[in-house]
Symmetry: C2
Subunit: 248 residues, 2 copies
Amino acid sequence: MNKTVHWGILGCARIAATALIPGIKGSANGEVLSVASRNVEKAKEYARKFDIPRAYGSYEELLDDAEIQAVCVPLPNGLHKEWTIKAAEKGKHVLCEKPIACCAADAQAMNDSCRQHGVLLMEAFAQRFHPQYQRAQEMIQEGRIGKILRITASMSRSVYPADDIRMNPSLGGGALMDLGCYCINTARHLVGSEPVSVFATQEIGQSGVDERTTGTLYFPGGELLQFDTNLYLDEKHFVQGCTVYGEK
Amino acid sequence: MNKTVHWGILGCARIAATALIPGIKGSANGEVLSVASRNVEKAKEYARKFDIPRAYGSYEELLDDAEIQAVCVPLPNGLHKEWTIKAAEKGKHVLCEKPIACCAADAQAMNDSCRQHGVLLMEAFAQRFHPQYQRAQEMIQEGRIGKILRITASMSRSVYPADDIRMNPSLGGGALMDLGCYCINTARHLVGSEPVSVFATQEIGQSGVDERTTGTLYFPGGELLQFDTNLYLDEKHFVQGCTVYGEK
C-alpha cells in the first residue's frame, strides 16, 4: 500500500511557497503533485520553481486529477467556502487557510459538505502545533499557573498596499480576519472552551476593512482574552504575542 | 526661616507606617509631628512606635494643632472627602490616599475646597514618581516606541478578609478602587490625556464590592488601555504590571 499523500494547491499564494510546500516536502508521507492557477503560465512557472510535476490552468482541472487526495486552499478568505465544498464534492481532503470562513454559516456548510463526502477538513492555524504553544499548553495542564484568569494577545503590523486582497472587504479582508484571528484561536485553544460573550470595537479604514479591532472575550470559566490587532505599526515592525496569567 | 514641614497623620493606617512615615523621615524637609486616632491609646502606641511627638484622640484635635502644616489622609476611601475638606478648612495642605474620591463630584468638591482655602491637594499615586515609571515616560517622550497604541496593565491579588475595609462597599472598597485604579492612573499619566470612552465589566462578590473589574479605556489619540484587576489570585501571589506598545 502506497502511503504517500498527493497534494494539490489551489492558487499560487506566497504562503504556500514559503510555508506549505517546504512543509509537505519535509514530511514523511507528503508530495506536492499539482498546482493550479487561473493563469496557466503562472501555474507552470510556480510548478517549475518548486519542482511540482503538474500545473493546471483552472482549479477545476486540479480537482479532476484522480491522483490528488488532498488539496490546500490558500485562496482569499472570501473564496474558502466555494473551493472547499467543490474539493469535498470531488472527494479531496481539504487543508483550508485561516480563518476557515467569513461567517459561522459558511463554516458550517463547509463542515457539512466534508462530512457528507467523507473527507477531512482542517483549518490551517499552524501555531496550535508549534512547540512553544504546545509547551505552554502542557504547563497550563500541569497546573503550573493554576486556573487561567486572563490572556492578553496581539498581532499587528503595518498597513497592506491598497490593492492587497487583505484590504478588500468582499474577499474577507481586514486586520481581524488576517491577524486578530490568531489571538482568538490561540485563546480558545489554551482555555479549552468557547467564549460566551464578546465586546469589541473596530476602526474601519477607507478601504472598507477594519484596520484595527480591539476586544474582550469572556469564557465560561471566568477566563478572558483581551486582544488588539491593528495595521498601524511602523513598516519595519510586526508584533505577535500572547501572555497567559493564572491564579498563581 | 524654618523650612521644615510638620506633618500630621489621620488614623493609624498600615500604609502610613510602612511607606509614608519612612518617606517623610527620609526627606530633607519633613517631620511627622502628630498622629490622631479615634482611640487615643492606639494613637499613643503608634506615636511611641514611630517616634512621633504628639498623639491625639480625635482627627479634629490634630487639625486644631496650629503647628501642623500638612496632613496625610490614609483613611478608607469613603472618608477621603470629609476629612480632606475639614483639613482644608483648617488651612492644612493635604496628601490624600489613592483613589482620591469615590466619584467625580466628591473629587471636585475636595479640589474646590482646597483652592478656596489656599492649600495644596495631592493624590498619593506614588508610582508616578517611581524611577522605573519616570524612565518609561522619558523613553516614550523621546519617541523610542513612536505613538502609543496600546497599554496592558493589571494589578491583582488574593481576596481580603471579609472584615477588611476594602471589602466594604460603603467605604469605597473593591478591587477597582483599591488596585485597578493604579492601572488607570498609570495609563492616563503615560498617554498624557483623559479617556473619551470606557467599556468595563465587574464581578461583584457576596460582600457587595467588585472582586474583579476588567475594562478597556479609549483615549482621544487612538491609544487604549486594556486592564484587569481581581482578587482571585492564590494567597501567595500579587501581580502588578504594565506594558506599553507603540507603533515601532
